[in-house]
């Protein structure tokens, strides 16, 4: 697979994205080392300006909590929510899409009606209702985001399976006597992975934005310091302390941008002919 790595690294944007994401991951993992006590602790005077006080380079919020700690622990929550909800959505999407795409007939119709049903209600509205029902907590937010974001994956996987099912190497697998289950898993799925990976990378980005929107609307998890929470909390202080909402906003921007750039890189690396044709 060195060809893949070579093509991916040639895309400067993707490399930059990788470095940013790596830095954010390091900060997230090292949060307990960098900031020993919890981000909720009131450690200093409130509203210290950033880059003023050596000990608190990012300043403090209206309760005297260290914003730097908030950003670090916030990274954990946001990335975790993004990753877990996307993983759940992708797995569900693959299961449903594969079954619909491979078997066709009434199975396909039934599953597609279900997918269509989920897509008739706008995503954010559905997420808000689900979180209100399950009462706001990390678990309910992840579940809500997963439930609203699996349909596009299902449609994508169905499309891939429909076309790949007709391909000759799949018919060859039938001819040599492989069971449908194994055919789906070992023959078709590996070849459908590239569009799935690209969509998944974008879904992580969307999940982080949705979590911050939910926190902004007051439906965030109260015990988890997340970036969305910080923006929501700092909203009232927009005029007195604009930097309090600026920094988490920039943090979200950078993370989502990095993930998008990596997604673009994956896209070019995984199906080179698309990029090549664009050249001439």
């Amino acid at each position: 697979m060195s060809g893949f790595a070579r093509r991916f690294l040639r895309n400067t944007g993707a490399v930059a994205g990788l470095m940013i994401l790596a830095a954010i991951l390091v900060v997230a993992l090292a949060a307990p080392l960098l900031f020993p006590d919890s981000p909720w602790m009131m450690v200093a005077d409130p509203l210290i300006l950033p880059f003023q006080d050596g000990q608190y380079p990012f300043g403090t919020d209206m309760l005297g909590r260290d914003i730097g700690a908030g950003l670090a622990y916030g990274a954990r929550v946001s990335l975790m929510i993004g990753a877990v909800s996307t993983a759940v959505a992708v797995l569900a999407g693959i299961a449903i899409g594969a079954a619909a795409g491979y078997h066709g007939g009434w199975v396909d119709d039934l599953l597609m009606r279900v997918t269509e049903f989920f897509q008739t209600i706008p995503q954010l509205a559905m997420a808000v209702v689900l979180v209100a029902i399950l009462t706001p907590s990390i678990g309910s937010i992840v579940a809500a985001i997963a439930i609203v974001s699996w349909p596009p994956v299902a449609r994508l996987v169905r499309g891939e399976f429909l076309t790949l099912r007709e391909r000759e190497f799949v018919q060859a697998a039938v001819v040599i006597g492989q069971h449908p289950g194994r055919i789906m898993l070992t023959q078709i799925l590996p070849n459908a992975m590239s569009p799935i990976i690209i969509t998944a990378s974008l879904m992580v980005a969307t999940a982080i934005l949705t979590e911050s929107a939910l926190s902004f609307l007051g439906l965030g998890d109260r015990n988890m310091m997340s970036w969305g929470f910080m923006i929501g909390a700092s909203r009232t202080m927009l005029r007195e302390a604009p930097w309090m909402s600026l920094m988490p906003g920039v943090a979200i921007l950078l993370t989502v941008l990095a993930i998008n750039l990596i997604g673009e890189g994956l896209n070019d690396a995984l199906n080179p002919q698309l990029r090549h044709r664009g050249e001439d």
Partner: protein, 553 residues
């Protein structure tokens, strides 16, 4: 063979096109130059055929002339004099004035050569609009004349039609109409008939020759099919890996080729004469197909009637153990459908498929699965028939493992299979994209043999390969079939290939079995007029007659 006008290139008449030392570097390719020091001339009213295998640089020379090469391919040196003007030095605007007006071009893929969302008439009229010719009503009239010139029915209504309503052959006629709209001095035809049926191909070749003679155009005809070359070429240029190895009058190059590569290519072309071979007559046939019926129904909605299209109607034939049956027909004749039905990749709507005494048609997929081992298939497209994400070793052992064999044991046998089909044992750990077309097809054959089948269905297994590679694979198939006593059902549209391999041939037309008998009888003295028409449409038959028979099998 059409009578050859004596076109010796006299010194005083300057050639229409003079290409000198054309050299185009190939950055990052498998060889330094796509095309190196290529020189040839095309006189007015002359058809020069450029022949060579895929990747030999024929299309790139054409692209250089038209100035349509992609960004990363720019000619390094050489000149292309057209009417005394070097096209390589011209600016884009100057080239624009010539493209379509003085140089026309037609391409290989008729199905995607036309803008799907623009009517036929408008696409043809565009050429005139761009060059500002035939203003006003004259343009509309010219479009109708051109449609009529290229032999399309009812031009008045046809001009308003969208491309998707036309067949491959009809679309190619439209592309030709577009290229010839302004009666260019030079026409470049890049494999114009490769994607067409034999009968349609014959009509298009005749059309090009008729128009060329009337307009006195120079034609640069690119192809890899020697049959086509023999029918149409005045002069021939042979290219190998970007170098023009031989050039000369058609009869000289075809009948007494000087360069070893040319000789090797010509030898690889099957002669199409059936070699009678002993047919081992046995009592019960291995496979007996009786009154097979298969129909396709387009899905009708709650308010739309279902549309039923018959693909195979009432076909019966038999295959004996160790025998090779050829199923021949044009596209849409139902031959591939029969192949899929035999292997139960598709259900059937009537009739029986008796394999070794048992009718396998009504069996469910699960019930039939243990039997699958005895019926195997070789596919057409070497690039699509192998899973790109699996190593060759894994591909060859998936079948036996599915049948319950241990992976290690299957792997051992896979090595012997690779040897059998002429591939190195090291291939086991490598991925399909590391092999050439021919090598991949050999892996496909090995996969089929892995389960020691009694019958193999080969669906167009060589039509995607270059001539020379085709010859090797066919030889391998014939050898294996004899040595292992495997029955073979060989599906193809190419009569020459069928004659080379099969003892008996079945000719299909629009889903029905037109003729069925020993290949020598069917090809030599056919009783059915459709078969005769099919045989006559084969390009280069005259040249075949002149050639001594290919080395006996």
């Amino acid at each position: 063979m059409r009578t050859m006008p004596d076109h010796s290139t006299s010194a005083d008449v300057a050639p229409l096109l003079r290409v000198r030392d054309l050299t185009v570097p190939l950055p990052g390719g498998e060889r330094p130059y796509a095309v190196r020091d290529v020189s040839f001339d095309i006189a007015r009213g002359e058809i020069l055929c450029i022949v060579g295998e895929s990747g030999s640089g024929k299309s790139i020379s054409a692209g250089a002339i038209m100035g349509l090469l992609p960004h990363h391919l720019t000619p390094e040196r050489g000149e292309i004099l057209f009417d005394g003007v070097d096209l390589l030095r011209l600016s884009e605007t100057e080239m624009l004035a010539r493209r379509g007006r003085q140089i026309g071009m037609i391409f290989q893929e008729p199905m995607s050569a036309l803008n799907p969302t623009m009517r036929i008439g408008d696409q043809i009229a565009e050429v005139m609009a761009v060059h500002g010719t035939h203003p006003g009503p004259a343009r509309r009239k010219r479009v109708l004349d051109l449609l009529d010139l290229v032999g399309l029915p009812d031009p008045a209504t046809l001009q308003h039609v969208y491309p998707f309503r036309l067949s491959g052959g009809q679309r190619q006629r439209v592309v030709i109409a577009m290229a010839l709209a302004l009666e260019p001095a030079l026409l470049i035809a890049d494999e114009p008939t490769t994607a067409l049926d034999v009968t349609t191909q014959a009509q298009i070749l005749a059309l090009i020759k008729r128009i060329q003679a009337r307009m006195g155009m120079g034609v640069m005809f690119i192809t890899h099919d020697f049959g086509v070359v023999a029918d149409i070429a005045d002069r021939i240029a042979v290219m190998e890996k970007g170098v023009l190895v031989e050039q000369g009058r058609a009869t000289e190059v075809l009948d007494s080729p000087r360069h070893p590569y040319t000789r090797h290519l010509i030898a690889a072309v099957p002669t199409g004469r059936a070699v009678p071979r002993g047919v081992t007559v046995e009592d019960a046939p291995l496979l007996a197909v009786r009154n097979l019926i298969k129909t396709y129904t387009t899905s009708g909605g709650p308010f739309r009637p279902k549309r039923v299209v018959p693909a195979v109607c009432d076909v019966s034939f038999e295959v004996r153990r160790g025998e090779a049956l050829g199923i021949v027909g044009e596209s849409g004749s139902g031959k591939s459908t029969i192949g899929k039905c035999l292997l139960k990749l598709q259900g059937i709507d009537g009739g029986e498929i008796v394999f070794d005494g048992q009718d396998i048609a009504p069996l469910s997929q699960a019930a039939f699965r243990p039997q699958r081992r005895r019926l195997q298939m070789i596919f057409q497209d070497p690039f699509a028939s192998l899973n790109p994400r699996q190593t060759v070793g894994r591909i060859l052992t998936d079948g036996p493992v599915a049948g319950g064999e241990a992976r290690a044991e299957a792997m051992a046998r896979a090595r012997t299979l690779l040897d059998l089909v002429g591939l190195p044992a090291s291939a086991l750990e490598r991925y399909p994209h590391e092999f050439s077309g021919g090598q991949r097809q050999r892996v496909g054959i090995a996969r089929a043999l892995a389960l020691q089948p009694d019958l193999i269905v080969a669906d167009e297994s060589v039509s995607a390969l270059d001539v020379s590679v085709q010859a090797q694979v066919l030889a391998l198939l014939k050898d294996l079939q004899k040595r292992l006593g495997v029955a073979l059902v060989f599906i193809t549209h190419d009569l020459r290939v069928a004659a080379e391999v099969c003892q008996r041939i079945a000719v299909m037309h629009r889903g029905c079995l037109v003729e069925y008998g020993p290949s020598a009888e069917v090809l030599g003295a056919s009783r059915e007029d459709y078969t005769r028409r099919l045989i006559e449409a084969m390009p280069g038959r005259a040249w075949d007659a002149r050639r001594q028979p290919a080395s006996a099998a």
